[in-house]
Each structure stands twice: as C-alpha cells, then as structure tokens.
Symmetry: C2
Amino acid sequence: MSKTVESRIAGTLIPTPDITPEELQLAVRNHSMPLEALHYPITPIGLHYLLIHFDIPVVDAGTWELAIGGHVERRLRLSLDDIKSRPQTTIAVTLECAGNGRARLSPRPMSQPWLSEAVGTAEWTGTPLGPILAEAGLRESAREVVFTGLDRGVQGGIDQLYERSIPLADAQRPEVMLVHAINGQPLPPQHGFPVRLIVPGWYGMTHVKWLRSITVTDAPFEGYQQARAYHYRVSDQGEGEAVTRMLPRALMVPPGVPDFMSRTRFVSPGTYTIEGRAWSGLGTVTRVEFSDDGGRSWVQVELGAALSPFAWRGWQHHWKAEPGEHELCVRATDSEGNVQPDTQSWNLEGVQNNAVQRVRVIANPVDEVQAPADEYRS
Amino acid sequence: MSKTVESRIAGTLIPTPDITPEELQLAVRNHSMPLEALHYPITPIGLHYLLIHFDIPVVDAGTWELAIGGHVERRLRLSLDDIKSRPQTTIAVTLECAGNGRARLSPRPMSQPWLSEAVGTAEWTGTPLGPILAEAGLRESAREVVFTGLDRGVQGGIDQLYERSIPLADAQRPEVMLVHAINGQPLPPQHGFPVRLIVPGWYGMTHVKWLRSITVTDAPFEGYQQARAYHYRVSDQGEGEAVTRMLPRALMVPPGVPDFMSRTRFVSPGTYTIEGRAWSGLGTVTRVEFSDDGGRSWVQVELGAALSPFAWRGWQHHWKAEPGEHELCVRATDSEGNVQPDTQSWNLEGVQNNAVQRVRVIANPVDEVQAPADEYRS
C-alpha cells in the first residue's frame, strides 16, 4: 500500500460542464435522493442519500466491539447488545452532504458530482454518547472526540480509516447519539451497520459510519478528513474554514411530469400544490419563499411543523401555472437570519453550495397523450 | 403537455468519454449496486440497482386497484388485499438493467450512463400471474399481455405511462408473479409499491413497477417502450432485435482498498479470496473463469449453488497477488453455451453490453499506513 501512487490531489478543477469518467465512477456509487421523495417526511430506506468514501465494510455484529479510549479514566469496550441495553432514543434527523450542489459550480471541483439531491431524513434509534463518555471518565486534558470507522481507503495520497472529530462540548450535547437502527430497522450495511454516529445539525461527513473506536484527545485532530478535507476555501493559501453545520436549504418536488432525458417538467396550465422541505443546521427554518419567475419576485409559502428540532420542515404553496415557460425557485431563511443565496458560492472543494434550487417547467395545453393500453383496447 | 418539445431523440451518440450534464442528471437519480455488495447473496434494500424512467409515483394502497382487461371473458379489479390473499410464493430473482455497461461504449449512446453495477438480487413475494389470467378467462384471440405502470412522463417525444408487454406464453410461466414484498418487507416506493411485475430471467425493463393495469391484447403491443426502445440495433435501418432475457455476466467484488477518486484498488502482496456472483437469463451459469493478466490467460473458479433457478450463483477464487500492477477479469458461460465477450458489443441504444469486467489492482508492499486515532494516542 503506497502513500504516493495514483491518488488525485484535492483541488483539481474541471472547466467544462461535462463530467469526467472518474467523477462518473463516484456518481454511480453514491446515491442521491430523487427529488420526488421530498414528499415523504421520513425518507424511505433506499431513497436517503449516501456518500461512501471507500467501500462498504462487511461487519460481523456478533464479534463487533466499539473501543472507547484516549484521554479517559477507563477504556471501555461496548458490544452491540451493550449499546442496545442502554437508554434508547429515537429522533428524526435531516442529513445532507457537505458537497451537495458541487456539480453546479464552474469550474467544478473534482469529487462526487452532486446536483441538489444529496439529502434525506430518517428516524435514528440509539443511545446518547454523553453518558458513555461520562462512564469512561473524561480526563481534564480532554478536548476533542475522534470517531474512527471501519471503512478504509486512500484519499489525498494517504491510506486511512475514515475518521472525523468534534469538539468535546459538541460530543456531549444530548442529541449526539450512537445509533443502531434507521426507520425502526437495524442499520443496513450502507448506513453504517452495526453502529454509527449521529450529530444532528451537522453535514453528513460528521456522522461517522461503521464505528470502530472513539478516542478522546487532548489536541485538535489532524487526520486527513478533518484537517485537510471539508474546508471552505477559495484559494490554495491558508487552511480555510472547517465545514460544520448545514446551511439553510429548501427544495421542492418538481411539479408535473418529466422528460426522461432532459428532466424538463411539463404541466397543463392550471393550479398546482407545490410541496417541499426546508432545513438548516444553524437554526430553525422560519421562512420559505417561492418564485415562478427565476427569482425576480418571491412570495412566502405556508410552513408545516418540523418532525424534530433537527429535521426538515414541510412547506407547500398553491401555484397557478400560466401557459408558457417558467423557472420555479425556492429559498429558505433560518432563525439566525441566514438566507440561501441566489448565486453559487464558489470554493475549491465545492462544499456548502446552498444556492436556490431552479426548476424549469413548461406549461402547455395538452395536445395529445398516448393512451395506455387498457384505454385503447377492448 | 406537448409531444414535440424538448425531448431528445433516441440515438444521440456522444463521442467523448466525458458525461454530459443531462446524463449526470440521470446518474444521480438512478442507483447502481456498489460492487462490494456482491458479497451478499440477497442484496440489502437500498443497494439493489434502480432505473426509474419518470418519477416515483406516490400511491395510496387503500384505494389502489389493479385492473385486468382486454381480450378476457371478464374484467377483474384486484385490491392489494386480494393479491395478498391469493397463494403466495417467495423467489430469489436477479434483475439487471438492459443498459448495464452502456457508459463503457464508444461512441456512447445518450441515456442512463451505467458502468457495470446495474444489478441486484432480491427475494420477491407475491402470487403467480397465470391463475389470475385464467380467472379472467383468456379469449381465443389473446396473444400478448401488456403491463401498464402509474409512472408517467415524456420519452422519445411521447407523453406516456410506462408500459411493456410479454407474449402470452411467457406471462403464463409459473415464475411470473405480481409481487408486493421484497426481502420480506412491503415494496418501498422505489421498487414499485404497492405491486409490481416480476418476470424472472428477463432484463429489468420488463418488470413493470407501480402496476395500474394488465391488458390482454390480440396484436403485438406498439407502445414506445416496447416497439421503439429496448432494441439491439447497430444502424438506423430496421427495427433491430427486441431485448428480452439477460445475457450471462459475472462480476467480482474488487479486492483490497480503493482510492477515493480513481477507485484504483490497492492490495499488499499475498493471497486473497476473490468472490463474486454470476448469472444468465438464458440458462444456468455453468462456468466462471478468472484472469489476472487482462484476459490473456484464464482459470476456472469454484462455483456455489444458485439461490433459485433465476438468481445469481456465488463463486470464489484464491488469487496470489504478486507485487506489481494487475488487471483482473472474470467471465461467465451458461448452459446454452453463451460466453461473455472480451470486447464491447456496440449498438445504438447501448443495451446488452456484457463485456467482461476489468479491475485494475496495484499490489505494493505497505510502506506507510496512517494509524487511526486510537492507535497513536494514549
């Protein structure tokens, strides 16, 4: 295993809208949530987005153990049964990939080419992390908590297990959990079986899957995924700003029916209920606005209740489709005053691009619909 | 809704290996099965491939009914409970998209750009179709059976519900089923909730999801997905040959660990058990061969049992990785004498490309592995 061969350096930029074969390899592996699945308050298993850096590990739950060590008074080893026998909580949490929207940037940072759909909301069941850390006994020197997964690969020229850290204070928040179930079922392999971390409000890279160990450290973690990747930076100078919590975003279910290839939407003129979801990791979504003229004018839409403080809120809006072509947009504002920008926020890694969604819709009178077989045959 | 606007004509060819933004839109919607999931004899929900032409419909199972009509003595309407109260069968079936391998062709037909992973095997539960057709009473004129889904969109310039037919004799085969469960659970939305068709042995386009109606016809069905799409043709002249049953294919779990971006595989020199699966819709897989020199020499591997006559067979092979670079290949032969070709079988739609899989592996002595946090901290 070599550190130096064959690994692309982060920061490669692609000047064309066309996608390289290497990016395609990632796009076929990593699943996004088809936008019509925004209809469901809880994303069905198999429609939730997935970003998996390396391979999905095969884990034997019977022998699996989670090691807890580092700057603690006593090391712990927890089995899956140990985790299930602790106090259990279920919470709805929206997860979004930090790279959502990357493929809309120009030039495009070379990595997983997400459009707008790298999101999902699930009901996660498990046990809070804080009491486990307390049981291990935090030393005075404790500062960060590093989560190490069983998924291994080479990135940035470094052979590594996937690992990320969060500050100790964040790890002790009551909503931070070790979970073993999604939507009432044991985690499937792709969601981190048998146990993963959930850090509500943060972008997806933080929620380490296939947990192997938890290490309390006395210094900032310098691993690749923490210190090099997942930074917002617009130049090679300086480290940039670490990506943490999700910026606000609203998405709509595209109305009407699609063209297979172009995904252009067609509706007959008339009034439609446009529905969607909105979320922010920085606060509560307080306003969602809709535009049918490409963002020149906006109207406020009706907001539904959130499933939890860490899950998206539903919204809907009655839209009258006049004949012609329309560009529908939606944008969210949160309680901290963060508003989605109308334009892309370009950066070297293509993270945190929460520019407003734009959906092209053509409203034409129906001229001819191919009747299905049962309507034109006796 | 217009027939004429905005719809790409089938047959557009892309001369470069780069993927257009339109193809990317399809690639982020449609899920393939990461190759490491070949480890599982039954593909976990969420890892099975998905190809969805239009949008995933939202269906209310309480009011849903399946209409059976056309050239029958009596029309039937079946509820979900009606289908569940009929005799139940569970069968393991391998499904593969007819377009699997399309993105490896040059020039590349414009459509969903699959690499090699558009496959999956599930245990489907439901009731055989034949007795339902018998109950409706087939007229002497009956010739084909058309299956119409609730998924609607524009393709080839035609506004349509997705629909496909099979000859009556095929529809009466005992393994052809209307299913309501996958892997012991109700169908999730993306797999055709509440009821879909399963036609074991055939490529995926035949297994119509979100069934709305079944129509017995006295003439070949001329709908878009049947008469125009899904044909093997190498020129615009003539109709080509209709795509039906799956050609043989073997795939391996790529050994070692991947580079995030290039997906190149790294192993330390040593002996590895290479595992994979092989299937054919034309017969039983009788031989799987492995090569570590790009297909210049082949050795036969050990075959496991099939889960059913319609599911893939596992295989494994002990491979000694000598230091250096290797191109691993695998190919299947079936009981009808069909063998996977070494080279692409180019055609206008990019269907049935079952050329052998090629996996590049670099075997290097370990020089430095980044230790995970728990190994380098006290």
